[in-house]
Amino acid sequence: MKYLIKSSGWLVLVALWWTLNQGKIVDPLFLPSPIATLTKVGSLFLEDSFLSHLLATTTRVFTSCLFALIIGTPLGLLLGSSQRCYEGIEGVLDFFRSIPATALFPIFLFSFGVGDVSKVALASFSTSLIVLFFIAHGVRHAPKERAQSAKLMGANSYQIIFSITLWECLPLVFGALRQAFSLACVIIIVTEMFIGTNVGIGRQIIDFQIAYRIEEMYGAVLLAGGIGFLFNLVLARAEAKYIHW
């Protein structure tokens, strides 16, 4: 019964898709049947080149998230713990956060060329802002008692950061990472489509579309969604396990 409830959303989705296709409500040329599409997903995996596309995209996304953590965490800690820093820089950061990442394409193209560096740099830039804000917000709004009592016990700033503040922020790091990952996926796939690359799911989707291989195109879209879905699931599990409090 529990599984039936959990899978009901999927069943409705597939039924709807099937109806749209079978009833010819949408031209089957643009929306192939679910069974044909899912079969294609399977056969895509048998193509060597497809695995390299998958790998290229996931590597870019993960690298971006890694940079986001490396850049965003220390800056977030700094910004969260210093009222002056926060007030001074809040406006500028809010402005940058409000620029759609895609509008920055040209700038990153100029600066880093058309290779992987510009794609990863753009995704890292946007996602590190997310991590930074999550952590800064967490540090600012954490109860002061823990850090204060550690300080009274004679802790130095280094000890306070590593014994208290970082732990206090850890649940937020998970939250930030989930959002950062979603955004990184969007940016990487869009840049693969429009900045251009030889390998990547984004490139595949465009290629399939141009070649009118619509079933494969949907298959690739489903896979892109699948990556995000899986990673979120892994993070949620890890969070439940390690953030036990």
Binding site: P143, E145, R146, Q148, S149, A150, L152, M153, G154, A155, Q159, S163, I164, W167, L170, H244, W245
Partner: protein, 246 residues
């Protein structure tokens, strides 16, 4: 400075209102002073000033220089580290001082021989009751053997029976180590049972309405509460407290 704590003509303004009226008192070394006072009389603020968390506007409130002190916050829940086990919470002060694992284990077992606990050291604080959490905070404050203990309602979440026992234990512990303490309480009985001296604060602007010496015998056990001497002090304290609150 030959007192453990000295408060001299303390003045502090909060929202344009004077909190203290030239508050002055001292706590001698090896002496326990308890404070009773209505809400808003600046008891917690006083402990914050003494510990250095807050600053006064004028006057002084100081602890004896070079003394080790521990401060038990009123908000015990927020000062526990929920990601650490009970053991690692209690030994936190030792860890921050860089004491080895062996040293920590030794100190902990010494402490627990005087303060037995009825829950596991390996569990996490959020699995425990409010009273048990409060006991962890108390043990965390005592493990580094402070010379001065500042405590803000340290037993507020414990059940009555256990409170009685812990008061006695805390009194003995402080006396055995010649430590001093300033303890804020909302229970008249507790304030009398723990005190060498009991201060009753007026409403703000706060001054000391009465100062009651409590030359009761040690140990401060449950039996003490039924004695004539205790009753007399309790009545005195209650009368002044009610006068202060009126």
């Amino acid at each position: 400075m030959n007192s453990a704590i000295e408060v001299n003509k303390l003045s502090m303004r909060i929202d344009g209102r004077e909190l203290y009226d030239q508050l002055s008192f001292r706590v001698p070394k090896n002496h326990i002073t308890t404070i009773l006072g209505v809400n808003g009389s600046g008891k917690s603020t006083l402990l914050n000033i003494l510990s250095g968390i807050s600053n006064s506007d004028a006057g002084t409130a100081r602890l004896c220089p070079h003394s080790q002190f521990a401060y038990i916050f009123q908000n015990y829940r927020a000062s526990l580290l929920p990601w650490r086990s009970v053991r690692d919470n209690i030994t936190l002060p030792l860890q921050l001082k860089g004491i080895s694992s062996r040293g920590k284990a030794q100190k902990l077992s010494e402490l627990l021989s005087e303060w037995p606990i009825d829950f596991s050291l390996d569990t996490f604080p959020y699995r425990l009751s409010g009273g048990q959490q409060q006991l962890i905070i108390l043990l965390r404050s005592l493990i580094a053997e402070p010379d001065i203990l500042l405590a803000d309602e340290p037993f507020s979440a414990l059940d009555y029976e256990r409170t009685l026992l812990l008061r006695e234990r805390l009194f003995n512990w402080l006396k055995k180590r010649s430590a001093s303490a300033l303890i804020v309480s909302h229970s008249i009985e507790e304030a009398v049972q723990l005190a060498d001296t009991l201060l009753i604060f007026s409403k703000s602007p706060t001054q000391i309405i009465s100062r009651i010496e409590a030359p009761l015998h040690s140990p401060r056990s449950v039996e003490l509460l039924s004695t004539e001497a205790f009753h007399t002090l309790h009545t005195m304290a209650r009368d002044s407290y009610l006068r202060a609150a009126a």
